[in-house]
Symmetry: C5
Subunit: 399 residues, 5 copies
């Protein structure tokens, strides 16, 4: 992710299109939201498990560890995984299910680990806000939303569902790739706290890594905002720039909608009684809480930036109108009076009176030997005065 983020600030990219696929992705309306709204299943029995379209086939990973050792394996057969898991109660386990597209398997896992159908529905459903539920005696069900700022310049979000148990943590996610590898590394390494602490600590570590992930997402958003600002200041932003800005505003608001419940979730954990979340663990969650608040502060900050960009865009648009008007005014103001003067001497007033005699008052200038040069000089003086006037108004220099 970092690499893609840093590619946005490549100065050479400034003339690149603002979006890899500029024609298609210009909707302000939040298509993700629309899709979500459309796919909800009306009137279904609550707790009905349905696999959403496009879900991937499940892959099963088991990471088993105690204070000194650590085994890690991917199982193609759930029975094998279950056998290993149930015969090693002395170890701690992280059962990591990636992909949902196997309803019977999901139902078996639900029964084996004693989950509630409504919880399983939250796991498999399209979208669930970050939340925490207590169930059983002191087990926790945690939902986090993982975010990523994609190369399509949109915020992509995936759901991480975490169930804690006496000696295990069970996680579900829809994607094979995730941002949890740093946690795996820490377990594999010899000296991690995760190996010495209860499974809740692992749940905390996973929650924390998701929160940490918000910062590169926001960094990418911040870089993109800067690119948009540069575009506006280049002074030739086309209409699509406004569309991009407004869409970015939408995305930031969406992002805020991910983070805000995260904060509420952690606040709820901090309020839980000692037998569910011991005080020793609350120190860690309080740290998470600080991070969530700072992520919200940043999102708020970017939202303000984007609103300022809209104002800047509008002012720029008005400014370019001003510029167009000035060109028109300068050229018209100079040449329209000149045209009048030359039109004046294009009139056909006659020197010869048809009734005889000379109309001496009819345009004697035309007959003067110096008429034409003097006129040209007068025209030049008029133009110079006008240019001076416009210069002093600053219309010629500052655009």
């Amino acid at each position: 992710m970092e690499s893609s983020a840093s590619s946005f600030v490549d100065p050479a990219a400034d003339t690149a299109p603002l979006h890899p696929d500029d024609e298609k992705h210009n909707s302000i309306a939040d298509r993700a939201d629309t899709r979500l709204a459309r796919e909800a299943h009306v009137g279904q029995r609550p707790g009905t498990l349905t696999i959403r379209a496009g879900a991937m086939a499940p892959r099963l990973f088991l990471l088993s560890y105690d204070e000194v050792s650590c085994t890690e394996q991917e199982y193609s057969d759930y029975d094998e995984l279950w056998r290993f898991f149930s015969t090693h109660p002395e170890l701690r386990h992280w059962i990591d299910v990636r992909g949902y597209n196997n309803l019977p398997l999901m139902e078996r896992i639900m029964q084996d680990f004693d989950l509630h159908p409504l919880q399983m529905e939250d796991v498999l459903g399209d979208y669930q806000r970050a939340k925490v539920d207590v169930f059983g005696d002191n087990r926790l069900f945690l939902v986090s939303r993982m975010t990523e700022f994609t190369k399509l310049l949109e915020i992509d979000d995936d759901q991480l569902s975490i169930f804690t148990g006496p000696n295990y943590v069970l996680t579900f996610q829809d994607d094979y790739n995730d941002c949890l590898d740093t946690v795996r590394q820490r377990i594999r390494s010899g000296y991690s706290q995760i190996k010495r602490k209860p499974p809740l600590y692992l749940a905390y570590a996973l929650t924390d890594v998701v929160l940490d992930q918000y910062y590169p997402t926001m960094a990418a958003i911040g870089d993109y905002i800067e690119r948009l600002e540069d575009r506006i200041l280049q002074d030739r932003p086309d209409r699509r720039v406004l569309g991009r800005i407004l869409r970015m505003k939408k995305d930031i608001i969406r992002f805020r909608r991910f983070v805000y419940p995260e904060r509420e979730k952690i606040a709820e954990i901090l309020r839980m009684p000692d037998d569910i979340v011991p005080d020793e663990m609350k120190v860690y969650f309080r740290d998470c809480y600080d991070h969530a608040i700072q992520a919200l502060d940043l999102a708020e900050s970017y939202r303000e930036s984007v609103s300022s960009l809209v104002e800047l865009f509008m002012s720029n648009q008005s400014n370019r109108m001003n510029e167009v008007m000035k060109v028109l005014t300068i050229i018209s103001s100079i040449f329209i009076p000149l045209s009048f003067v030359v039109g004046l001497y294009g009139m056909n007033f006659q020197r010869e009176n048809p009734h005889g005699g000379i109309n001496y008052l009819n345009m004697p200038e035309l007959y003067s030997p110096w008429g034409y040069p003097i006129l040209l000089a007068i025209l030049a003086v008029i133009v110079m005065f006008q240019l001076l006037y416009f210069y002093r108004k600053g219309w010629l220099t500052n655009r």
Copy 2:
């Protein structure tokens, strides 16, 4: 509803009128609200039952079930329904009254089922926010608002009033068609939880289906917002588009006003003591609560989208002004100086001095054999420089 929703995204529809009846329905002022405000009956005795104008004649449905069986019948005679209901206390019943337009019948139902006149007034009245009241010992009176995005591109709302009793649920609604059929299907089918749980579960199922219904409504709104955005980006939006946008904004705010009390209602249910709403049921209502919050999030999201559309519209309007100005400026700037030049050579300065002699300085160009072609060449050069200037300003290419 889904089918109508999907018809909105038909790409061929993009040039279709934005509204089936474009001339009539363009009010921003919320006529529904106005009507509501106008129809309220001032100073009436509280609890006075009045049937509102346009209400439909009541139809009575009874769905009786126990864990294994299920009978379903429409009764044209309330006495028959009451006889069956009161002689089968071993069954659970869903008495489903659709339409109110029979005051004596309504009063009889009120007495038979021991309802408060103020509750009955809420049932029959025009509009009641979603709410929950406890009455009797542990009976609930629930009001939900059902929504639908109609083909007239407005949000239509109907009221669902639910009373729970020891072995029955009594519902009222004004329309014959509703969105509750999925619940009926689940009861008719053999294995539904509804048949094994107390009537409160049925009340929950009905509340839940209304909440689920909000999602297709919002999907339709989302599609419509996208159509409006496409219209704006087609770059020739007429004034009615803004009217539509503003009306849609109004509708989303109205929608939010339906959902917000729904959330409060469920939060109140979750706070109720165990003897009214048992913990086992609260798990289900907590699920409803999540749905209500997500519906609010979506409404908030669409509201932002619509505000962005207004900004986009305004910017587009300003952009088209810019475009008009550029055409004027380009044409004027090119031809006004040219006109001056040709006017210059239309002057009548005389070569012959009336006092004799030749005014050699008076426009000798006119007498040169190459005067005219040279002038034309000069004019062409002027035009080319101007075109170059405008091109470099980007006025010729980007509109």
Copy 3:
């Protein structure tokens, strides 16, 4: 009130002036507020009774009833009223004082009914937000604000002050006409609940009727908003329309300021202990509470409508500027190039070389027998191309 409200929707009225007295009443600054602020008496002893300027002479009405009978009389002499009142403790009484302009009388009433000077100051003062105070053992002092949308298209408000006592209700208001007649009718009629319940029920009924009165006020506002919208869409709104809109916005905010404390007042009543407001009465006040919230919802809704009207007005103003610009651009763009062309052939380049010979290159077109018709044809073609261009830009058809 209903009749005046309905007169606003008279379609023929659409070309009528937006205000009966258009020149005078166009202030956005809330003159009512200003007046209020100016009239407050600085530094007076608290509880000093002063009659405000313009108050009317008091009229005293007594409505005495028990479960079966009802006597009603206006007294010109307070002593008579007091004699009847104090000699009939077995009846319930509604002492209805309309108009304040008699300080000694007000002080006597204050002493006879044991009111606090600060309460009496609230009664006689200019403006008091809706509120409830408990005094004595379990007596209530209630203030409501009655509203009316006047023919001057402003919201008029009057204050209704209610004191409850063991067997009476004492009300004060400044106007002779009020909206409480429906309550009087219910008492006069044989079977009203008011006659069977304690005086608090009458206080409730009066509070409820004031709340009900908010709906026609809002209906009138809603109608007026629609008229303003029609005006804007007629496309020739003058500047006064914006003044009206902004004033209406102000009025709606003022209206909201009346309703909001009303809601707080009733919420406070609902929180009162059982010996002051018995549970049986709370059912009724809870109904009031729903009404107050819905009135607030409506006010919020209208406020949004009015904001949308401002946006529509601004867009329309910009649109008319666009239209003006298009006319200018079309006419200038067509005729300025034509003028150049005809100016070109108005030049005086000479065919005869003064040094002898013919300048064949000097404007040979002028000497062609078909010069003029060909030129006219060329001009016509230029015009047609320009019209085609403008037509395809949509400048000719959509305004």
Copy 4:
């Protein structure tokens, strides 16, 4: 103050400058705030007493009273005051210190009356929000902000600090003139409640008079807003009007900042236990509370008015642009086509073919005896059609 307030509504003043010193006082940035911010003393020992620059020399007033008598004297020597005060414990005293500029004296008063250095710092400091502190056993320290709308059209504010003691009230203020004379009058007069009640009542009376003072301040603001509105509607507002409006907005927000803590202060007093503020006194403070809320409501109302003024100003500015454009468009649209026509007949197509013969098609109109009159008639018809077109668009009549 009233007199200055009423001078603002003098109708003859409408053409007067909006500000007595229009060139200097046009800052939106709140210079008062800036000054405040700049003068704060960084890093000083808390409770360090420093006299701010420009403070006046102290004057000492003592008003001593019991239920029947009242003595009042200004002391130039604090020792004398203290001697009288300490030898008359049977009387109640109001020690009124105006001006601070004598540090040793301030420190002596602090010690004699047993005040905390931090409190004294609040008294002498530049700015302290309204607040209440309890100290000693049941003594109160109250801060109020007195406001005045000055002839410079700004809100001036001074601080009133009140300390209560067992038989005295000690007040500090920086200005010799204040708005407390009405309270002094009430004490001097024979029958005031102040003389019969404990010192807390005097503190209440002083707080109340400051709150009452807010209303004339707001009345003056309201009048000024009306003047600004009239200016805008006179249709020739220069740029300074917007500056004034924005400054007034700033001032109203500043005013709100004075009133809001006042409300909080009184709410805190109402929550105090009975031994500090007895219930009997709370009735009076509750009255204050109502006044503070209404003052906030008014401030909110004026803030809305000022926002509407900004919109009106912007619309007016756009309107004047429209007007300018219409003049340009009408004149250009009429004369540019006419110029083309006359240019057409200024062309020099030759009737005589240089090769002999007559070019009959070359502008035969020029040779017709009715050519010129017919052309003039055609021009007149063109003008009339254009005028009709513009008239029907409403461009000629409504500006």
Copy 5:
């Protein structure tokens, strides 16, 4: 800092560039935020100490004092410091660490003073909101943010981390220069309260001095806002002024984000039990609380000012457009009709009929002896009428 602040109000600076490095620092997007977001370390073990890039090498200062004496020294060797510290338990110590760039040293300090790794991570991290944590028995961990308005016209912020202990205060900051010298001076001087009170008082004094520091920061912001306003009113603001305004808005919002948690922090301290923060100390923190609220009020005030500046800028931009339009309109309106008139008399209608005879109606004016002077007079009259019209519209005088 004061000196740099006062340099901003130098009147001669008004034509100086608004920013010392105008080309580079014009981003609205909050680069500081972006940088922060980018640097966060994803997925690290919580409590992992990392030194951020660019941190300075640590310098160690020890200030030891009792009620009468005071020793102060910089130690290059931590062991020496620790030796002195641990062998003088009878003194109070302020260990002042400036700069972090020595990880082993930081870890040693952490262990010696018994700090939590998460706290140390907050100390060394990039950014931590102001907060307070209780740890150990009654030790406090306080974070404050120090601000400064730099010569680059940006708000610079540094973090001050304070740990209290039984007889010491331990502070960390990243910069060698700080704003705490006034506190050091007070300790060095003979009579400071700090020397007589527990270490918490020193922590308070440090917190207070940071809060006091906010005022000069805001004064500098206020001065800069005034400069921006003057720039706008000079009437030739270029586009960069809007960029500056928007950036200043961003900075004020950022500043508010520093102050707001400061207020929350102090409120939390005020709620702490007596054994952690004794009542005697709360008097002082309450004073801090007042300062924090006033700083927030000021920030709010400046935010409003900046929004008003945006409105003023937009109005000014529109105003300048108006001015341009007026020049165009006046010149066009005067000369286009004149051009028509002179074009009229440039037509070539022929007096001689080719078929013989005289076309007396063809432009007889041209043959009149007074034709030309009369025409010039008519033109002059037209111009005068037009000038009068424009003058009365106010287009000539007010720009």
